[in-house]
């Protein structure tokens, strides 16, 4: 078991190193001289040279990367070009807000998607199965930003049930209940697409499991169908479902960016949106890096859980 975890952690660290390379290279892709971009077209050569030196742009690219990586390891993500404060101070609180939103969305995805897929598999070809699979087929194609706007229009404006923007009431912030109220619509919007995919995949994995020979043994032992489904089928489908969930977190995080913009949620996505319009590269880099790290971490977790869940791989790791 520990061998399996060690192997996964090591390969994840390599991936993270690659991620930092990509994020670093992002700036190199910016057309033109970053110093000139910062100072504008009318800057004097002397001023440009000064900025280049300040940003380390005059050093060889490998040295620049080592500097960047060293900074990352110290928690130094550079300085914002716009607000002149350390990027980490801007990004970290927003990162927490994004985790809250993404976490809530993930709970909805799993809490609704997995049972939906299981029931659809149980009632294969029934009206319920066809209806839920048609809805999830459609749901998988839904543009998140559109769904977010429609939710605001219907539940926020027409029905007036939920606030349409922000994380807390701006006049009288009300702690956790206020947060939860503000969380509902964005979380649902961000959850929809991955939920649809998770439901579909859960269904097909469960159908496979239900065709296995041991299910017949269980039926012949007199176990009720509900026990077979929720205990045995779910348990055997779980490793594959967890893998799918891990991958869907990528779509979820992508969707969260849009949702944060639409709902004015003070998270990384909203920050990314602002920074892009300001062309604040260090902040953009930091936002991208944080989201990628979350995704990588979630998949590491999913990988390890799959190893723990499957008695066969557990055995292999010991041997």
């Amino acid at each position: 078991m520990t061998a399996l975890i060690t192997r996964r952690v090591v390969s994840t660290l390599l991936v993270l190193l690659g991620v930092s390379v990509v994020v670093f290279l992002l700036v190199q892709l910016v057309p033109g001289d970053p110093a000139r971009v910062i100072l504008g077209q009318n800057a004097t050569p002397a001023a440009i040279a000064e900025v280049r030196q300040a940003l380390g742009l005059d050093k060889p690219i490998v040295v620049q990367f080592m500097d960047y990586l060293g900074g990352l390891l110290r928690g130094d993500l550079g300085t914002s070009l716009i607000v002149n404060s350390p990027v980490i101070d801007i990004v970290l609180p927003r990162f927490m807000n994004t985790l809250i939103l993404a976490g809530a969305a993930l709970i909805i995805c799993v809490g609704v998607g997995v049972p939906l897929g299981l029931l659809a598999a149980k009632k294969q070809y029934s009206v319920f199965d066809r209806a839920s699979m048609f809805i999830s087929m459609t749901g998988a194609s839904v543009p998140v930003y559109w769904m977010a706007l429609l939710l605001i229009g219907f539940f926020g404006l027409t029905l007036g049930w939920f606030p349409t923007s922000g994380m807390y009431d701006s006049r009288e912030p009300g702690g956790l209940p206020d947060l939860l109220l503000h969380l509902v619509l964005p979380a649902v919007a961000a959850a929809l697409v991955p939920l649809a995919v998770i439901a579909r995949m859960t269904r097909s994995v469960t159908l496979e499991v239900l065709e296995q020979d041991y299910v017949r043994t269980l039926r012949a032992s007199g176990l009720p169908e509900s026990t077979i489904l929720w205990r045995h089928a779910l348990r055997n489908a779980l490793p594959q479902i967890v893998t799918v969930i891990g991958l869907q977190v990528g779509y979820l995080l992508g969707g969260v960016i849009f949702v944060e913009v639409v709902f004015g949620w003070p998270g990384l996505g909203g920050q990314l949106y602002t920074s892009i319009s300001q062309r604040d590269m260090p902040t953009i880099q930091a936002g991208v890096l944080f989201i990628a790290v979350v995704f990588v971490a979630v998949n590491l977790l999913a990988d390890i859980s799959v190893g723990v869940l499957d008695p066969r791989s557990r055995k292999q790791a010991v041997a």
Binding site: Y125, Q212, D213, Y214, R216, T217, L218, R219, A220, S221, G222, L223, P224, H232, R235, N236, L309, D310, P311, R312, K315
Partner: protein, 310 residues
């Protein structure tokens, strides 16, 4: 839920058959019309006896066996006629809930795929305990003791330690012993064994068959052996029914039919058995009968390779 019914119900004489199937028909709806997989079948399993249900694959023998448990498992299948009388009760009229008490409680199933018949994600002991607690309403410790007893009956080596093993840690023969242990855990009156040795090595096959025979002798469990192998019938069955294209073409005392098969189809099935296995029965079959040109009108199935390989 009721506690397992005692073996002999009041009112039925001790000699009454455990299982009586009368006029059973099952139809499957396929894309090209309705197929009758089981066609007015009559079968009887005597108390303490072993009935061999023999036929080639697709003859309807497995469907018949699963019908008893109400587990045909296809929404395209439909039982169109007949009754399945188990200890005097017609199982076909029972509700799904009532059938759950019968399955695993009063009738056990040993299915053909020994290697994949156990849930790979649960420990052997837990799978046994789950079934025992379902039918016998005992606490966990008692259930564990019953489970261990069952594993002892099927002679699983090192049973106490094996309770904590996962199926993949066991050999094929050991797994089939566990499947039998689960089927026997609640002391059913009838055990249905659907080609129980198909997935196993030749030497292990013999051990499993001997185990089933021991169980029949020691516990008095009646059995329905579904097989395509007349060697199995010769080895352990008291009565035999030969099935072909959904119909019973011949049935009676096992020794008698092996010695004097009336149907060429039966003869063909017997000849398809590997020599090794047939040796003891062969002596019983008169030389004259063995040389009958039985394949003339049955050439279609004579070409099948199934018999020689298993």
């Amino acid at each position: 839920m009721t506690t397992p019914t005692p073996p002999a119900k009041t009112g039925s004489p001790a000699t009454a058959p455990v299982l009586e199937i009368r006029d059973l028909s099952v139809e499957f709806a396929t894309d090209s019309g309705t197929v009758r997989a089981v066609d007015h079948v009559d079968l009887t399993v005597e108390k303490g006896g072993i009935l061999g249900l023999v036929g080639e694959s697709g003859s309807g023998k497995s469907v018949t066996a699963l019908c008893i448990l109400g587990l045909i498992g296809s929404r395209r299948a439909k039982i169109t006629s007949g009754e399945v009388r188990f200890q005097g009760e017609d199982l076909l009229t029972k509700t799904e809930r009532q059938m759950r008490d019968v399955r695993g409680g009063r009738i056990g199933l040993v299915s053909q795929n020994a290697l994949s018949a156990l849930d790979p994600s649960f420990r052997i002991g837990d799978q046994l305990i789950e079934v025992i607690r379902l039918h016998q309403h005992v606490d966990k410790a008692t259930a564990a003791r019953i489970a261990l007893d069952s594993l002892d009956i099927v002679a699983l080596p090192d049973a106490a330690r094996r309770m904590r093993s996962y199926p993949h840690e066991l050999s094929g023969g050991q797994r089939q012993r566990v499947v039998i242990a689960i089927a026997l855990a609640c002391r059913p009156q009838l055990l249905i064994a659907d080609e129980p040795t198909t997935a196993l090595d030749a030497t292990v096959q013999q051990q499993i068959l001997d185990l089933l025979l021991d169980i029949n002798k020691n516990l008095g469990t009646s059995m329905l052996m579904v097989t395509h192998d007349f060697g199995v019938v010769a080895h352990m069955c008291t009565t035999v029914a030969v099935m072909r294209k959904g119909r019973i073409v011949e049935q009676g005392e096992a020794g008698e039919i092996i010695s004097f098969p009336r149907q060429p189809y039966t003869q063909g099935l017997m000849n398809a058995v590997p020599r090794l296995r047939l040796s003891e029965t062969e002596r019983a079959v008169p030389r004259s009968q063995r040389r009958l040109p039985v394949f003339v009108e049955e050439s279609a199935f004579a070409e099948r390779a199934d018999y020689a390989t298993v």
